[in-house]
């Protein structure tokens, strides 16, 4: 251990620095952190980062001028996607990424954010005449101290392996994973704890996409079906996520939120049709009314961890049939869509408790949802909306407006009203919560290029919860506000500052009887500077300060990043040292960390201590690379004694 730390320190002394090749932009990092900080939707950050890695792995060919291809840049607004498509059409070919700045609706910030995810190559991936095999295999091994529970069934290592191939219009692959404490092979026949596979065909004729195996789907604004990322990601994101219909192969590791079966997307002139069918086993806690056999679902188990015998019993306890159809039609500047989806569970869901919070929870064994959606572009105004309802006449309504009065200013509004009792098992509408129900709110934001190199963005989201929710024993409300200023005086220097104000209500558990609501107000300021004195070296410094009222607890951190890419060796090093101090868990702080490919890390820093890591990437040969990350969190406990949490991650990647 001592030797390793000494090596770590010597490495720091010798090679402090930074490379940009896998450096996600500050904007992207801000969004990921915002998602991670939003406790109500912890999976969003995972999905978001995974999609970015997918884009980085298979960059969008912007010169292909295909709307479908360009819409893969999911963080662009409809305005931007359309403007980029038109520009690529009219100019013939985009020669430099810096041309993007000249496209109406694009600024330097957006262009910079796109750089890791685009290529100027114009060949589309769909080319059946030249079948070119491409294989990618990634294997992750990771271990961290603290995961050494002796009651666990398997080893403390987390193991993840992914394989993907593409050959012309065909692609496929598999994902296998075991979490810490799980057996890698379990059940009969012995298979990895989580195993996912798919085979995909992408065509340019009537059949646009056909997936057999595991897939994710999203239609319209996502109130009916959306197993990916919700729209309205960030208060201050420069783009506003557009709604698009898509089915895509599933490559993530969330063990419960995907479809398993067949999905097909057809297109004929302006008409689009998607059909999907899925039979997927899910984790659940079962109960028994008869006393002899399990005959109803008490609750769904979504954590995906099966490291004890009792948790293993929940694994694949039920199956769910899901099916649906999506029809869309494109008029000139207006697109309309209709979606119907159905769910059937192998056992009925029964509410067993008497908690009023659960009164609108789902009961029964089937759920049907019907959705109408539209979006239309009228000059500089984009209007979009969606209406979904179930058989109990509970509904979800969305109405949005995106307005670009000038190329330097974009204003967005989105209103949502999800009634309590509207339940979608695979839907995720715009808003702050993970469930699309019991939520009424309006979100407004703007992005403004105030001057050359100076960008200002801000947003406000006001929510009302008509019914009770977790830790809130009466109807409540919440609000988020943020303003961000970004200054990029040169290409090598970026200065970013933001102010965030959050308000929420929770039960005051200190009082007896029916709890009253108390207001929690969180204010935070972030400042960061990123500077690259040389092409292969980047330095980053960041300060966070947070105050939580009424407790008055405070949190603060100072961190230093350095990344360095050797000129003579195919090696890149990342280094971070962060010192933090928070008064309690409420004032915790989040910081994005560079991590293994297809992984992400945004630890919640709470208490007093430091968080440091070093990661090295070595391109062994043209087709293989290895990454190693060692992280250490040191917490001060009771005066001067410290507790250290260590983690080690190793990744092998082969591509040929």
């Amino acid at each position: 251990m001592l030797k390793f730390l000494l090596i770590l320190f010597l490495l720091f002394l010798s090679f402090w620095s930074f490379s940009q090749e896998t450096n996600l932009s500050e904007v992207v990092i801000n969004i990921a952190e915002e998602l991670a900080a939003d406790d109500s939707d912890p999976e969003a950050a995972v999905t978001y980062i995974e999609r970015l890695y997918e884009l980085a792995e298979n960059p969008v060919k912007i010169n292909s001028a295909g709307e479908n291809e360009i819409s893969r840049l999911f963080f662009l607004s409809d305005f931007q996607a359309k403007a980029l498509t038109d520009y690529a059409h009219s100019s013939g070919r985009i020669i430099s990424v810096y041309e993007l700045i000249n496209i109406p609706g694009f600024d330097k910030e957006t262009a910079e954010m796109m750089i890791p995810f685009i290529t100027l190559d114009s060949k589309t991936t769909v080319n059946s005449d030249s079948v070119h095999w491409r294989n990618t295999s990634i294997t992750n091994l990771s271990i961290r101290s603290g995961n050494d529970d002796t009651t666990s069934l398997g080893s403390t290592w987390k193991i993840l392996t992914k394989y993907k191939f593409t050959a012309g219009g065909f692609s496929g692959g598999f994902t296998a994973e075991k979490d810490p404490g799980e057996k890698f092979f379990s059940a009969n026949p012995p298979l990895p704890d989580f195993l996912s596979a798919n085979l995909t065909y992408i065509g340019s004729g009537l059949i646009r996409r056909l997936i057999v195996g595991d897939y994710s789907a999203r239609f319209g604004q996502g109130t009916n079906i959306n197993t990916g990322i919700r729209t309205g990601l960030s208060l201050t994101a420069p783009g506003y996520m557009s709604a698009s219909d898509e089915i895509k192969p599933y490559t993530s590791t969330d063990e419960n939120n995907f479809f398993r079966g067949v999905a097909a997307e057809f297109s004929y002139e302006n008409l689009g049709l998607t059909l999907f069918y899925s039979k997927n086993y899910s984790d659940a806690t079962l109960g028994s009314l008869s006393g002899s056999s399990k005959d109803y679902i008490e609750n769904f188990y979504l954590a995906g961890i099966h490291n004890t015998s009792s948790l293993l019993q929940k694994k694949d306890a039920i199956y769910e049939l899901a099916y649906g159809i999506n029809l869309s039609y494109n008029f000139n500047n207006v697109r309309v869509g209709f979606t119907w989806s159905g769910d059937r569970f192998s056992l009925p869901v029964k509410m067993t408790g008497n908690d009023p919070v659960d009164i609108f929870d789902f009961e029964g064994d089937r759920n049907n949802l019907y959705t109408f959606s539209y979006n239309g572009l009228i000059k500089r105004i984009l209007l979009y909306g969606e209406f979904s309802t179930n058989e109990y006449k509970k509904y979800a309504i969305i109405q949005g407006l995106s307005f670009r009065p000038s190329d330097r200013l974009t204003i967005n509004f989105i209103f949502r009203n999800y009634s309590a009792g509207y339940i979608s098992f695979h839907g995720k509408g715009p808003g702050a919560g993970s469930a699309t129900g019991n939520d009424q709110g309006i979100l407004g934001n703007f992005t403004f290029e105030a001057a050359k190199h100076l960008f200002i963005s801000g947003g406000c989201d006001i929510q009302k919860f008509q019914w009770l929710k977790y830790r809130c024993s009466s109807p409540s409300s919440a609000m988020r506000q943020e303003i961000r200023v970004r200054f990029t005086p040169t290409e090598t220097l970026t200065i970013d500052a933001s102010y965030n104000n959050r308000f929420s209500m929770v039960d005051n558990t200190e009082a007896n009887g029916i709890p009253e609501q108390k207001q929690i107000i969180t204010k935070s300021i972030k400042g960061s500077v990123r500077y690259s004195p040389y092409e292969n070296l980047t330095l980053g410094t960041r300060i966070d300060y947070k105050v939580v009222d009424p407790s008055g607890s405070k949190g603060m951190l100072l961190l230093q990043d350095m990344v360095y890419r050797f000129r003579q060796l195919p090696v890149t090093l990342w280094f971070r040292y962060c010192i933090f101090q928070t008064d309690d868990w409420d004032s915790r702080l989040y910081t994005y960390e560079n991590d293994l490919l297809y992984s992400f890390s945004i630890p919640a820093l709470s208490g007093e201590g430091s968080r440091s890591y070093i990661m090295a990437k070595w391109d062994i040969v043209d087709f293989a690379e290895i990454r190693v990350k060692y992280g250490l969190t040191s917490l001060i406990e009771s005066g001067t004694s410290t507790k250290n949490n260590k983690e080690l991650k190793i990744q092998f990647k082969i591509q040929f």
Partner: protein
Amino acid sequence: MSSLHKISVSVFYIFLSLTASGGGPYRPSAGAGEAGMGYVCIMKNGFWSSFHNQASLAYNKSFSFGLNYENRFSIKELGTRSVGMTIPAGKASLGVVYSHFGYTDFKRDMTGLACGIKLSEKISAGIQVDYFSERASGEYGNNQSVTCEAGLLVTPSENIRIGIHLFNPVPNSIRKTYLPTTLRVGAGTDLNKLLFAGVEVEMSSGSKLIIRTGFEYEAAKKLWIRSGFSTNNNSFSFGLGYLAKIAQINLGFTTHEKLGVTSSVSLIFKIH
């Protein structure tokens, strides 16, 4: 306030908060020049600054010798005496520093060996190995500890300097005595030929974030006026410096909200 009470309050502030003006008590006190401008020093070239960011040692190209005395809160028991030396050695420069803090019942000695080197036109780096020795009377016993610190100095342009310094990155689990880890980052600029201004942030494990800012103005030939402010105890600083033939003398004064004024004086000799 009685002297004994003052001492006990001071010790409480210094050794429990570890954030008294001038940085943690495990580092040698900055020179009087640095004290005068609010201890904004990790991006500034200078004799004592070199022991707060060893990367700036690379810019000390003459054999120099310095003495410093800091009289914390005008209490002699809390005085710190420091002595240092820098030695040019080709592309690198070496440094030696020794400081002694305390009085009969509590003493802390620190010895550091430092090296700074210019790596490229824009970047220099430095490292220092520290040995601490604490001796306390009675039941408290003695402690010894070894650690290290390292720094970077980046000069993006002729007028701008960025300093980054990390003290004690070694986890405390591998030794008996607890030492805080401190990260400092700062930037400074020559606003014109006569005026230098800088800002610095510091955070130590177990302590709150501190922001410092300060300036140095050449009021007359060989005469400098300095001032600064630190969010730690809302401390203001003032100072003067004068360069004689081979020696530079500096005076620094730093206020504390409750404990009064800390004064310091330093002498720096450039031999050749």
